[in-house]
């Protein structure tokens, strides 16, 4: 067993039934995180070539949060996220090629080219939406949780959002409603220290955002968001609580956005050395270290996974680029059912 693996400062509990299961799980998480990292690198390249319209908000550095959290969900559970949502939607299992095609505005995109980078949605895998108005998806998440509770499906609704979201009204209304109705929801705050260009301390009077759960008598926990196994453990407990009918939770995952807010943002507001310190705790490097130090995977094996993942992302991008643009007439479709 990989019991007691030490990643950064957090002690990890046993994660599987046997060594081989642990190894398999860790490799799965690693592969998924890598996939998201390489996908985002590819999106950035395409953006620089002006093949991506509007804006795009990259996820490099935060992969452990969505991959760790979504790894504890089961079929039927649902997830909502923000305009920085490529990672979360892929973590739910959305196909790489159709996700990339949506970002490129292609006819075969997840949303047939109607949503784009900020609105990736794949209902078939439970990724119910990337919402581009801060906090707007939190009442929605209470609604999917209400439906699950009402219909008795046992499904859990999980929402990702940023630190800045905890200052907008919809956050308060949604968490309050979820708490009074004891809804099966898990609210995962990805605290990446900046709301767009503004450091958290300039916009937010509390340092520990998990403390905001106290206003709703809601369970809460803070977790190292760069440690995929820690995220898995903490969110796993919250999902189990929700599924058991014990109500919603607020989880604060501490992480870091390695790129700027959006394309036009070079991140000049960062104090000197901050990025470098976080790069040392890069979530993917941390998993690699665990895998190798514990003998769960050889350097060669990791190299093979990296090569396979790079090839998968490359091939998916090529497919997406080769797909047709939507017919202009399609703009009239999907307004009404």
């Amino acid at each position: 067993m990989l019991a007691g693996i030490l990643v950064s400062d957090s002690v990890i509990l046993p994660i599987g039934e046997s060594d081989s299961e642990d190894r398999k799980l860790l490799l799965t998480l690693y592969r998924r995180m890598l996939e998201i990292r390489l996908f985002e690198d590819e999106v950035m390249r395409l953006f620089m070539q002006n093949l991506v319209r509007g804006s795009t908000h990259l996820y490099q550095g935060q992969e452990a949060v969505s991959v760790g959290a979504c790894s504890v969900l089961r079929p039927g559970d649902t997830m909502t996220c923000t305009y920085r949502g490529h990672g979360a939607v892929l973590a739910m299992g959305a196909p790489l090629d159709r996700s990339m095609a949506e970002i490129l505005g292609k006819a075969n995109g997840l949303c047939r080219g109607k949503g784009g980078s900020m609105h990736l949605t794949d209902v078939s895998v439970g990724a119910l939406g990337s919402f581009a108005v801060v906090g707007a998806h939190l009442p929605f998440t209470a609604g999917t949780a209400l439906a699950a509770q009402y219909l008795g499906t046992g499904a859990v609704s999980l929402a990702f959002f940023g630190d800045g979201t905890t200052n907008i009204g919809a956050f308060h209304e949604a968490l309050n409603l979820a708490a009074i109705w004891k809804l099966p929801a898990v609210f995962v705050c990805e605290n990446n220290l900046y709301g767009e260009y503004s450091p958290l301390a300039t916009t937010t009077p509390v340092e520990r955002l998990a403390d905001r759960a106290g206003a709703y008598a809601m369970a809460s926990e803070q977790v190292d968001g760069n440690d995929v196994l820690a995220v898995r453990r903490v969110v796993g407990a919250a999902v189990a609580r929700a599924r058991a009918g014990d109500g919603p939770s607020l989880i604060e995952a501490l992480t870091y956005r390695q790129k700027g807010h959006s394309r036009t943002d070079p991140g000049a507001y960062r104090p000197l050395g901050e990025l470098e310190r976080w790069l040392e705790r890069d979530p993917i490097s941390l998993v690699e270290r665990v895998l190798t130090e514990r003998g769960a995977a050889s350097t060669d094996e990791l190299e093979r996974v990296r090569a396979e993942t790079a090839e998968a992302v490359r091939a998916a991008t090529e497919r997406a680029l080769s797909w047709p643009d939507p017919d202009p007439k399609e703009r009239f479709e999907d307004v009404y059912a």
Partner: protein, 325 residues
């Protein structure tokens, strides 16, 4: 046929839909135990229980967003916004989330949400509780808009709205709640997008909804005594709009007036005038007119508000001038 008040028609429509489909749930501020501030949901909590009829906090963003999420996850929620003016508190949820969810996801799911709101003025509620809020949504494709003016229409449109697979905003005029009228037996469904010709006439086409429909009918009776025959059309829904019925009437009368309880700028009446002129400008014998509220907020005091909202007398005056042109 049974005679019901507009309020009773709302309650009966909701009860019938709750009865007929387990996926229908109802929530909003004080809609359950208290029966709604206008008593339009009285008795539903007692009959259907706290699981299906729910009081929410005073939190309109949560109400509308929760309805959207619940619909995507398989329910058919009916949400109430107590005063339509509070749509301003949750405008993002209505205009950006509810209206666009289906479109932005490329039609992956249907969004069967009904949002009921009490609309309109005349009751002395002042500027923040009296507006004709349907006008705020004319520029937002993705929402259907019902503006029932009679017990039969509110019953039938509300039932149809709940069964519709799209977001439907149903505006209930607060001054009409006590008004009585016949409601047909049977399901009483009223199709969205079908206007009612309330009164036939050959001289002037008048389009009016809700309270203005009733005042326009009064005005039409007065004008009939002067030999001016008004054709009164109540579109009943603004989205979809039965433009064909209005155009056919203007082709007959050559004159068009839209009578509305809101300022003229950006109003449904202005939109209808533009559309009818675009389709049938050669039919006009006189320039079309709007009979509207003023370009000010709605005032509180009785004499001020009464002067603001078009009265039957003012409608008679404006239509008489139009008929003389």
């Amino acid at each position: 046929m049974s005679e019901l008040t507009y309020r009773e028609a709302v309650t009966r429509a909701l009860a019938d839909e709750l009865e007929g489909d387990e996926r229908v749930i109802l929530f909003g501020e004080d809609v359950a135990a208290a029966g709604g501030v206008f008593q339009a949901t009285a008795g539903l909590y007692e009959r259907f229980g706290p699981r299906r009829v729910r009081d929410t906090p005073i939190a309109e963003q949560a109400i509308v967003g929760c309805a959207l999420g619940a619909a995507v996850a398989g329910l058919r929620p009916v949400a109430e916004i107590m005063f339509a003016d509070f749509a301003g508190v949750c405008y993002d949820q209505l205009a950006n989330q509810l209206a666009k969810y289906r479109y932005m996801t490329g039609g992956q799911v249907a969004v069967p949400v009904t949002v009921r709101m009490s609309n309109g003025g005349g009751a002395g509620f002042a500027a923040q509780h009296s507006q004709s809020v349907e006008n705020w949504f004319l520029n937002i494709p993705g929402l259907k808009i019902c503006v029932p003016g009679t017990p039969a229409d509110v019953y039938g449109l509300l039932r149809t709205a709940v069964r519709d697979d799209n977001p439907v905003l149903v505006f209930e005029h607060k001054l009409l709640y006590p008004q009585r009228g016949e409601v047909p037996d049977g399901d009483g469904l009223v199709e969205l997008g079908r206007a009612e010709v309330v009164r036939s006439g050959s001289d002037v086409t008048v389009v009016a909804t809700q309270l203005m429909r009733h005042r326009s009918l009064e005005a039409a009776e007065v004008l009939a005594g002067e030999g001016v025959e008004v054709e009164l059309i109540d579109p009943r829904t603004l989205v979809p709009l039965d433009l064909a019925t209005i155009v056919a009437s203007v082709e007959k009368t050559g004159r068009l007036a839209c009578v509305q309880e809101c300022p003229p700028a950006g109003s449904w009446g202005a939109t209808i005038v533009a559309q009818v002129v675009g389709q049938a400008w050669e039919s006009f014998d006189a320039a079309p007119i709007l009979v509207s509220g003023d370009e000010t907020p709605i005032p509180y005091s009785g004499p001020l508000e009464n002067a603001w909202i078009p009265s039957a007398e003012r409608i008679v005056h404006d239509l008489r001038r139009l008929a003389e042109k």
